[in-house]
Amino acid sequence: MTTEVERVRLDLDMPPVVALEQINWKVINEGNQEQVFAELKKANIDPVLFSLTDEDYELLQKNNVQLRNQIVRYRQIIEAYKQYYEPKQDKKSKESNGFGDDFKPVDFSSKKD
């Protein structure tokens, strides 16, 4: 006769929130390029710019949104798995999460239509 033994819960903590570095955009066009480079030199910053066209800038921002959304989706899936398989021990992470009503993890076992 075999007895089922429940596996020890994995119960991994979510990684801490990473705060991104603040970057400064320089907008340079035909009319202000000399002024921009002069300002860079004055501020002792290498007079070089890594540039994008306005079209590519738009794509960069859209890519950022896609990446951000994907992070949210992965988090939600991880939290749903935790809630489903480890419902009792998930209270701690639930309390620490600050998503709005729509984004905070839902106690699926108690939420019924």
Binding site: L20, G31, Q61, V65, R68, R73, Q76
Partner: protein, 152 residues
Amino acid sequence: MGIAVLGAMGGLMYVKHLQSENEILTLNNAKLEGAVAEQQKVIEQQLKDIAEIRDINKQLQSQNEKLTADLQVANEKFNKVNASGERRDIGNLAVSKPRSIEIIEGRREKQRARCFEIAQGSPLTEEEINATKKSEINAECPNIANPNYVPY
């Protein structure tokens, strides 16, 4: 006389046999009832699990719709059409007002960084939760940053 005794013994053995059969049947019946109850529990648990899975999927789908809405915000932001029917072009704006665009981008970059924090699970601030006006919201990701904001 002997035949009567044999007959009685036979009858007794038959009764014993019936009693034994009856006990076996009773035990089997109890086992079956137990098995049915067990199966019933399994079925109930499975139904509960299915309902939970359905709720999880519904929740994820609803949240996904909000994320898609944020992507839509990003798409529309660069192609907004004003009252005169002209398409907003950040390139044109950057040509005519580079400094203004730099200032706006500086502010937006802070908002974008905050959006990434929220995406990772950073708690919303009171200001973010209570924001209902355009001037109060995080314009980069209102759908995850400002749960009480209704676009107008």
